[in-house]
Symmetry: C2
Subunit: 402 residues, 2 copies
Amino acid sequence: MLKTNQNYKLLNTSYLFPEIKRKVALFSSEFPNITLFNLGEGDTTQPLASSVSKSMIKKIEDMSSDKAYMGYSDPLGLATLKSQIASNYNNSYAKNFDLSEIFISDGAKTDLFNIQAIFQSGMKVALQNPSYPAYIDSFVINGNANDLVYLVGNAENKFVPSLPTQRVDLMYLCFPNNPTGASASYVQLKQFVDYALKKRTLIIYDSVYSWFIEDPRYPRSIYEIPGADECAIEIQSLSKIASFPSLRLGWTIIPQKLLAGSFKRREINNIWKRRQQTAFNGASIVSQAGAISALSDKGLKECDKNIKYYLKNTKLIKNCCEKIGLECFGGTNSPYVWCKTPNKMTSWEFFDFLLKEANTICAPGVGFGSLGEGFFRLSGFAKNKEVLNATQHITKAFLLLK
Amino acid sequence: MLKTNQNYKLLNTSYLFPEIKRKVALFSSEFPNITLFNLGEGDTTQPLASSVSKSMIKKIEDMSSDKAYMGYSDPLGLATLKSQIASNYNNSYAKNFDLSEIFISDGAKTDLFNIQAIFQSGMKVALQNPSYPAYIDSFVINGNANDLVYLVGNAENKFVPSLPTQRVDLMYLCFPNNPTGASASYVQLKQFVDYALKKRTLIIYDSVYSWFIEDPRYPRSIYEIPGADECAIEIQSLSKIASFPSLRLGWTIIPQKLLAGSFKRREINNIWKRRQQTAFNGASIVSQAGAISALSDKGLKECDKNIKYYLKNTKLIKNCCEKIGLECFGGTNSPYVWCKTPNKMTSWEFFDFLLKEANTICAPGVGFGSLGEGFFRLSGFAKNKEVLNATQHITKAFLLLK
């Protein structure tokens, strides 16, 4: 009999961002003349770099000509793009990745979800709490949420958790972290890698915010840690650096040397390859053409202006929050500022307060996990003018709290 | 313990198209000076229509400007594109689909695979034999291949199978069919719909070749059959009509009225929506912009020239094959000609013969399922000149067989 995959029944119906949207729509319908400042979303606002859009337009022109047109491209990605990515890693981190270890994706979200399905469900999975809410949903749907191990992030450890006290099969790590903005140092990340190597745990490393790291004390890739290519898959995206959220382009690195659980070397790489050839037909070739440009020396320089822009906003937000006496985390090497709510408000109480009194949208911490309760996240992705307006309004609103 | 999803161990290692590629590479390394004619692939060769590429370039220009840039777009697709699709269906087939029933995808292949995962595995699945080989792999990986029911296609029924004699949970149907080129008439398709309604079977209807239907006796969408919106999901793509294989754009229709297995109305639609919001972030917005153009009246007219071009090629191929005395199927309302091999050759024997003697690449029938043995597929997607050359060479090669 055709029945629902039972895992879907275990999903919570509400989801952080739709709930924020609902509350904002309600407020706007009540006060249609009030302009709101959106520091709630992690969504880019800077346009495409000109070298990137030029390459994409060139690709479309080629595809419109009889001579240069091409039909299906390799589901695993264009060799030129994979070479560009491999050489960026190999030059920066003295690695020796070859093209078979790089899989071009249509963004990090898809692979963070799909990678679980190549393993038997019922895995013991560790994840940071608080963390990106789509992780939990992906564990629930893939049947891996029965035995979750939370890696506790709190003010004391500055949201870089300790190792799990028990063995886990799979560990999702995200640094710089969403939502807390925490970065892991070399020493801290090495502890996770050493744990994984010892326990044959597979690390899924979400490094989509690594572009924001300015301080050389923090690794930008897990592969900067010796041994990581034997225990970690890294998932990366062009969304933040190249303004690609709606263009959909990322990549996943599955080293041939990977050893985890009962797997021999090469096996995980081979299974993922077969999965992608069967269930995927590649990222848009126009996005891939843009990515080749974005990842060149010239493109990276151009795109880095976006990062600098967002970091400047984030600094403004952090300064504002500290000035009004909030306990703040993140805000450097990250586009996110993570603050404790004042007066012991819950996350959603503070959301309502900020919306009403500062006309500013934040992301309530509890939406990122139980340990996010009593915190909220502000993002530096908005336009600079919006950030300036928001900080002025926030400062004024806090006078009400005195 | 981290273990492989056992289903992956059940996959065959060889896959039709890689195997063809391997054999062709071997031949070319032995005879580097021989030009080969590729009638083996279902891959488009006509460039993008100019109205389509104009819209895509315009979208990139917008994304490069501070004012018109946008970050994340709806994972379920742009409303404008969904409206365009809904109105095409509603105008052509007197349906009343609303936007919630249309899910924009990055092409048919992904959804044909992923849709199975919202159901409990271990379903009884029916599929045509011969059929598109990725179906079987998708059943194996999703744990639905233990109890396959083959819908027999053969010369007697002109590759439009009879109904299954037992109840099945899920039925994959593809008309015009790949590889046989067979189209189902209204009466034939109605039999499948009536069966599904009676048995609460879910039909997954792969209509990606419907653009080739010229004869009004054949339905272009399963929704032309009364009741189909209560038992069928239709999966469609712009690859063939708009030359989009590497641009990745398709859609899946999941009617709210759908009733199947133990599901109530709206349920399947809701679960898929939640799945896509969690595991997908939308098709590239540039491809979506191109799709809006391609599906407008003007765009459809322009793109239809591609279809006419491929159909003209297919006719040439069919005429050639019939002239040399082969038993042929398909070749009208379809880009594929499906022929019986001469002299009782196996599919791969004939492949080798055609490669060596006519320097032409075909797709061996057995690669599409056991019942494809003794057949081969030729495709009209190549350039016209290549098709003309191939048919001349095939005709000459057949003199050797007399």
